[in-house]
């Protein structure tokens, strides 16, 4: 049988991994959007 504190810890680990994955997805999406707008700005002679 798994002790309760081990289960709590495993839950917290999964929650943190999930939050990190979401944060990285947001960062990548923001980066892609930024690169798109940089390309447009450079093309317009900025």
């Amino acid at each position: 049988m798994i002790p309760e504190d081990e289960r709590t810890r495993a839950r917290e680990v999964r929650a943190r991994q999930r939050r990190t994955a979401v944060a990285m997805a947001f960062a990548l999406a923001a980066f892609a959007a930024l690169m798109y707008f940089i390309t447009i700005a450079r093309m317009s002679g900025g």
Partner: protein
């Protein structure tokens, strides 16, 4: 690394995203971003808003990267100081490898993005500032000499130069004087702080000036650096690089700075509880830099 720390890392939870944010020293970054933005805004060339935003973002990311690498290298020092013991690495909330990868990755990202979005001259200065902060200040000087923050202070002086270079693609007298202003501002700012946290630095074995030379010598040095700093700040006006709005603000603010430095020089207290002048100077020094750069931008945009 001690066996105790290694064991605690094995059992530690994976670092939270907030720990990665803490690794970039966001409070220090605000001053870096602000001075970089001002450098960009006072440049004679207008940059496309998206590219200007990217340039400031790159300065922020570069500063964050340098801070992360600094915390990675100094985790042992941070653990010995009250002020820094709760940072992610000494507190055991993050393993050193993650901090190193984060810092190196962010460094490359900031420099390459700066080069792609603006120009490679600005990217080169950004790369130089990160390398200077990490290699010259953190690795080489900080643990070896009491002049650590005098020379290392140059790293924090780069942002206005980078902002200007991002807009114009070159350096100039104005950004070089802004570089000199922050360079001369750094010692009084840090030494005022290190006077009232002297025991922390002494316990960690960092040779800050108050630890090595004593409080009296440090107080004199604070005053001696404040005078050329004030001269550089005001010089922009007679040199024709800024107008009367900036000139008046710079003169008034610099006068206050020097008056506070005189107060510090006159203080003979040894206990932090009686170091009100030092605490006042430290707090004012932050306001000083924000206000003086703000005045420069206001002078350029509102008056010109």
């Amino acid at each position: 690394m001690t066996a105790v720390t290694a064991t605690s890392h094995e059992r530690a939870l994976p670092a939270d995203w907030r720990d990665f944010v803490a690794l970039t020293k966001p409070r220090v970054m605000s001053l870096v971003v602000f001075t970089g933005l001002c450098g960009l805004l006072v440049a004679p060339v207008r940059l496309h808003p998206v590219l200007a935003f990217t340039a400031i973002l790159c300065i922020a990311l570069g500063a964050g990267a340098a801070a992360a690498l600094n915390m990675w290298y100094e985790a042992d020092l941070d653990a010995r100081m009250k002020r820094t013991a709760s940072r992610p690495l000494p507190a055991g909330r993050m393993d050193p490898q993650s901090a190193l990868h984060f810092g190196v990755g962010l460094s490359f990202l900031s420099v390459i993005l700066m080069g792609v979005a603006t120009n490679w001259f600005a990217a080169a200065i950004l790369a130089a500032s990160i390398l200077f902060y990490v290699l010259v200040y953190t690795v080489w000087l900080k643990r070896r000499t009491a002049q650590n923050i005098v020379i290392g202070g140059a790293a924090g002086a780069f942002p206005p130069l980078i902002g200007w270079a991002a807009a114009t693609g070159e350096a100039g007298l104005l950004p070089l004087l802004l570089f000199a202003l922050i360079f001369l501002w750094t010692p009084p700012h840090f030494w005022a702080l290190s006077l009232f946290v002297r025991s922390d630095y002494a316990a960690a074995g960092v040779p800050m000036l108050p630890v090595v030379a004593g409080a009296k010598a440090t107080r004199r040095q604070i005053l001696l650096y404040s005078l050329p700093m004030a001269a550089v700040a005001v010089s922009l006006w007679p040199l024709g690089l800024a107008g009367f709005v900036y000139g008046g603000a710079a003169a008034a603010l610099s006068l206050c700075f020097v008056a506070l430095a005189l107060d510090v020089n006159a203080n003979e207290a040894a206990e932090p509880a009686r170091m009100a002048p030092e605490k006042r100077l430290f707090a004012f020094s932050i306001l000083y830099l924000f206000a003086i750069f703000g005045a420069l931008v206001a002078d350029r945009w509102l008056v010109a």
